[in-house]
Amino acid sequence: MTSNGSNNISTSPAYRIVSISVLTAVTAVFTLLIRIPIAPTRGYINLGDVAIFFTAFTFGPITALISGGLGTAIADLLSGYAQWAPISLVIHGLQGLAAGLIVRKHLIKFQRIQFQQNSDNAAEIDEYREKGVRKMLISLTAGLVGTIIMVGLYFLSGAALYGIGPAAFEVPGNIIQCVVGFVGGYMLTRAVVKAYPPVSDLFL
């Protein structure tokens, strides 16, 4: 049984297919639609990584693997950068998978505790705070690993496609995008779990 009293449907194949499809579309829309300009370089960062980290933290590694990879690949196809689609499929998929695997065992357990914090027991509150710090550290580790995977693999594929110099030039932008993605994804996970608690039962 879930926190809202219904049977857990998140293991049904139909549910998994639809959740991956919806989150793939969310990743594609976040990548295509929301672009924040960076004044000094005249470039922009997209929020695709926000959706990937949100999916990893909320829906788990398998959903993040498929929707992260496929969502960014679809965004590349639709925006005319089809040559990047296979690379994005693999890199962002691995980024989501790694982040999801790291938080898998810990995050949802903590999120459930979060809703039980209206306790008068001081020991329980202390325990919650301690777990809150651990949760933050685990999420940070997931963000760091996701960033290393994304930035490192984009550098390697860029170096293979158009040389080490241009590939190295893109590294700072990719780091900024990934850090924004992690911070945004973490904040969104907290906000969505707070506003819509049943989402914490959907982690696979």
């Binding site: 449907i9 049904s12 194949p13 139909a14 549910y15 297919i17 639809v18 959740s19 991956i20 499809s21 919806v22 989150l23 793939t24 579309a25 969310v26 594609a28 829309v29 976040f30 295509l32 639609l33 929301i34 924040i36 300009p37 929020l47 926000v50 949100f54 498929i66 496929l70 969502g71 679809i74 196809l77 639709l78 005319g80 950068y81 089809a82 040559q83 689609a85 496609l161 158009y162 040389g163 080490i164 110099g165 241009p166 190295a168 030039f169 945004g184 904040m187 969104l188 906000a191 969505v192 506003a195 819509y196 989402v199 959907l202």
Partner: protein
């Protein structure tokens, strides 16, 4: 939003079977990475660009260059400093700016990336997305994966519309800035994205039930709304694409 790069047309590339086209795409890209020499890479890239003109129209055929230009500039600026071998072509005081090896490498990288870009452009400009999915199915993509791809395309307009509705509602309340991006704009984005995500996530159980009601998971034989043509045309196009693949791989050896 989900308008792909597909352009309707009746060119030779359009008429070619997408399954055979995908085989040629893979061969073409692989060839650009093989050590055949710059002249062959340039010739193959030239063929891709020439084929793009009837497939996409003269005006649209050169649109990938707009996307490529910033990267080409980066390659020109940042590749030569990594190569010090060969005859020195340009120096500034004691700094070697360009050598023969650096120049060759820069040309190779520009041609390769242009070739890859045009190979993908040709494929997606002449193949509708539904045919791309059917092609991948023909090559063994599982039904569930094809379902995810097609359903994702179905959800993209819905989520885009939701995003616009929610951001408009927040703008009317004065909590979401428009115009120049700044901290207040980024801060205002969080509630908008939260609402979009909650609305999207809430559709999942309903859609899952809908999918099950339509027979998802049943063992009965599946029907297909659309099919790719088979028979003699497929055979001819496949033979043709295999022959072209063999020629573009063998040509450098024959010439050498």
């Amino acid at each position: 939003m989900i308008e792909s790069s597909y352009h309707e047309g009746d060119s030779f590339v359009h008429a070619f079977d997408p399954r055979a086209k995908l085989l040629l795409l893979i061969t073409g890209i692989t060839t650009l990475f093989l050590p055949f020499g710059v002249e062959f890479s340039a010739a193959y890239t030239g063929v891709f660009i020439l084929l793009a003109i009837p497939a996409a129209g003269f005006r649209h055929a050169f649109s990938p260059f707009k996307l490529l230009l910033p990267l080409i500039i980066l390659i020109i600026l940042l590749t030569p400093p990594f190569f010090k071998e060969g005859e020195v072509l340009i120096t500034y005081r004691n700094w070697i700016l360009l050598t023969e090896a650096g120049l060759m490498r820069t040309i190779v990288l520009i041609i390769r990336f242009t070739g890859i870009t045009y190979a993908f452009f040709l494929f997606f400009t002449s193949t509708p997305l539904n045919q791309v999915v059917l092609t991948l199915r023909w090559y063994g993509l599982p039904l569930n994966a094809a379902l995810i791809v097609s359903m994702s395309f179905r959800f993209i307009p819905y989520i885009t519309t939701t995003y616009h509705h929610v951001s408009d509602a927040h703008k009317l309340r004065g909590s979401y800035q428009t115009g120049m991006w700044g901290w207040s704009h980024i801060r205002g984005l969080l509630p908008v994205l939260t609402s979009v995500l909650i609305k999207s996530v809430k559709t999942i159980p309903v859609m899952a039930m809908s999918l099950e009601s339509r027979g998802f998971g049943s063992n009965r034989k599946r029907t297909s709304y659309q099919r790719l043509r088979g028979g003699r045309i497929l055979f001819t196009h496949f033979i043709f694409s295999v022959m072209i693949s063999l020629i573009i791989i063998a040509l450098p050896y024959v010439v050498a």
